[in-house]
Symmetry: D2
Subunit: 272 residues, 4 copies
């Protein structure tokens, strides 16, 4: 208790929100969940039923005094139910939501970008990007989010530039960022709800580690970034600032959280 | 004959290419087809079987001495066949390809962005964006394009900024532009083939005129653009320059062809 | 006293910094100064000697328990002295710095962009942009900022797109943002100090109100921004978040704080 | 003579223009001059008196049947005179203009970005960026350019991202690109004259070779660019296309001509 008083800035006091994508303690979403609660928020956790079987999300739920609502985000009915159950749990509207979901079937199954299986591509878009639209649309239609609420999605700079191994996830992230802009417009008009994406450094998570050549890439990004790569904990801090009232007029943005990688053309370390 | 000699700069002499999306004489693709031939190229025309029944593409084929290969671009087998038949017709590899295909089911059926039917969204992405990947992948795998060939897709600035009525087509264009970057990387490495998108002014075409509030928007864009809106004919000219050897090192770009709209924050005409 | 405890999140506890550009209570810098102190920081105020004669900065200094160091930022010696005096006052290094300085001679004297007097343009760049480089260079050379310190400059979207009346200030802001990127690289490498710019909505300040047609423009921007224009107070909140430890890995960025203006292509209000 | 007929596409037939910055046969401007004439144009060459003493511009003038008008572009009177003499030579208005001028005093004299001498910085901006404004303003005020004329400046991606050795030239190029946008707006409104910048690969020219670590950098850029670095000749081709009538509605753009460097986040060659 004393610890919490000392560490907390109470940035999310009296706020409530949904956190998706906490698989294990390496997940960015896991850190976000912990920090949200540290900052005074109440949360609902959600993840795919299959991810929950592998994951340790129960520990997190206990630690953060949260409920877990399993949800396959490719199924719109389950997404609608997620919002209903969250409102029921919170006793009304909530204030923030994190989308931290992404998976590429073609990458996972080793098919290169020049030989995509298109059924898989649709599935990839559905899981990684349309799920964001579904979650927001469900909230919008059910009027689930308080005025000045804040919605975040996690993305990657491959939406802007080519990172060859990222493959069809580039398009998924391009969709995700476009959804943030477009729904940010509509939800901003209706309820002053803002929608943004955070474009995070490559991060050693259980999900991220599946991508080919990932270690080499992490080390390259580290050398290119004046502050080094941002880790999951720093990303969670940034999410907190974006959920807080200190950023109320920021919307429809893609915010790079990457130690300066995005605007470094070349570093002396890489040149050498 | 004399007229052609006078008008032509022979920019595409000895070049061959595929032009998709010529519906009628208002289509940008129609103008591109005419100008390609004027500039010395041989072409293959393609369109969806359903569009051909409505269209006047036979007149164009006759005028441009082209064959027509019907192709439903959502069907990968038909796309592969399109490339086979084109190579057969040309007697080998070709040099350029235009993607000018787009249609949104949710827009057409009047569902707003905040109430998308997701099956339709997938269909929209498939028609408007994944078709571009399919066409390029087919060429890549069949080694159908000569070194330094040029591939173009037509897009719209809604991929960068919100134009509320453009709805899910925003995401479609974001995908399209991402595909240009990503395949531009891979095809550039393999065969020096470049891939770009042209982001065109709103244009009064038979396809464009389906979008809600389009006339108001055309007039707004006209007022915002220092040179006025670019028309279909100017766009075709720009396509010619991008197919020509004068732009050989331009790749993975999204090129605004819009009379300056994209970088005008506000014009005096709009402010008044 | 009680009020402050309730309102404060202690985001800047034990942090120290320099705030430039507080002219009167309409100034963004004025609000930043107040909020910095509310959040637990100690500050030094600075402004041009001439601005101080017109201004009410003494009231602010009293209220925020700050000292004032007059400084003509076009004179590098005075800038070096500002840093020396600040370090002396703080008893060592400090943590943050706000640049909020801008003035165009050609605009003020009514010369249009198509008839610039170039001596004035140099002076404009010097006041509005090179002053930022000078302030950072002085800190860098004197090792005046603690590791993970945060430097901010205020800018405007005219650096990216044309707003005709903004004239040569467009170039000034382009310089300013480029300095943030470039010094962000060097200072990040050396001391993990981050440098960013905040691109703020048009704001009714004493400085801003000098620009021609400003009221029409404010109203246009209001209609284009889904959340409306961001005001000076919201901007100050955002500055606080950027000075805090919640944004430690954000550097070399230009951050739009504008209610969504920057990514709205057109709004229904403007179209109508 | 026969050779010219075969090679030329007559893209600039009956067009006239000013080419600045041709120092020797390695210069991009030199190639542009040659190709302009090949494509049917008449040209005026200009360069700084001091550069002409070192240069071989007389050979170029002879070869291209051009006159040379010496001009120190930091002196507005000389710029006005350049436009007068060009109009006199052409017997009236002209159609295009190339700005290919840049030099950094701090770089040349070995002062790092973190220790700029600001007098030199002003001089650098004056030579490398304000000269562009002066040349355009002189044309605008004297009504020297035909409707639909085309003005180009050469720039570099350091205006967007940090390349540490490029130093204060980053800001110079940021100014240059901002001038293209802003004057593009005004000149577009008045005479449909378009203004663009071409952001070129690092190029081995006599000017470029002065920059520290340039060879390493050229080789890095080569590995990052799917098509390799664009050379001076390809750049000249691209300039021709931008002066031609095939690109009439392109204005206020910064056009990357770099083999794909700008949108490659990392290449497999660099990662290895």
């Amino acid at each position: 208790m004393r610890k919490q008083i000392i560490m907390s800035n109470n940035l999310l006091k009296r706020k409530k929100g949904i956190i998706s994508g906490a698989l294990d303690s390496n997940s960015i979403a896991w850190k976000v969940a912990e920090k949200c609660v540290e900052q005074g928020a109440e949360i609902v956790l959600t993840n795919a039923p299959i991810a929950m079987r592998m994951g340790e999300i129960n520990n997190l739920a206990e630690k953060t005094n949260a409920i877990i609502v399993p949800c396959d985000v490719t199924d719109n009915d389950q997404v609608l139910e997620l919002v209903d159950k969250s409102m029921e749990h919170f006793g009304g509207k909530f204030d923030f939501m994190l989308h931290s979901i992404g998976m590429s079937l073609n990458v996972r199954k080793g098919r290169p970008y020049t030989d995509l299986k298109y059924d898989w591509t649709h599935k990839t878009y559905d899981i990684s990007a349309l799920s964001f639209h579904k979650m927001i649309q469900a909230c919008y239609q059910k009027d689930a989010i308080n005025d000045w609420g804040s919605i975040l999605g996690l993305t990657y700079i491959a939406a802007q530039r080519v990172f060859p191994d990222y493959s069809e996830m580039s398009e998924s992230k391009a969709i995700l960022e476009s959804i943030a802009r477009n729904f940010g417009y509509h939800y901003g008009k209706k309820n002053k709800v803002r929608v943004n994406t955070i474009s995070q450094s490559p991060t050693v998570t259980t999900a991220g580690s599946g991508v080919k050549g990932f270690d080499d890439f992490i080390s390259y990004a580290e050398k290119m970034s004046p502050l080094g790569n941002a880790d999951a904990e720093a990303c969670a801090d940034y999410c907190i600032s974006m959920f807080s009232d200190f950023t109320k007029m920021v919307t429809m943005q893609n915010l790079f959280h990457d130690g300066g990688f995005s605007f470094t053309g070349v570093s002396n370390e890489v040149l050498r």
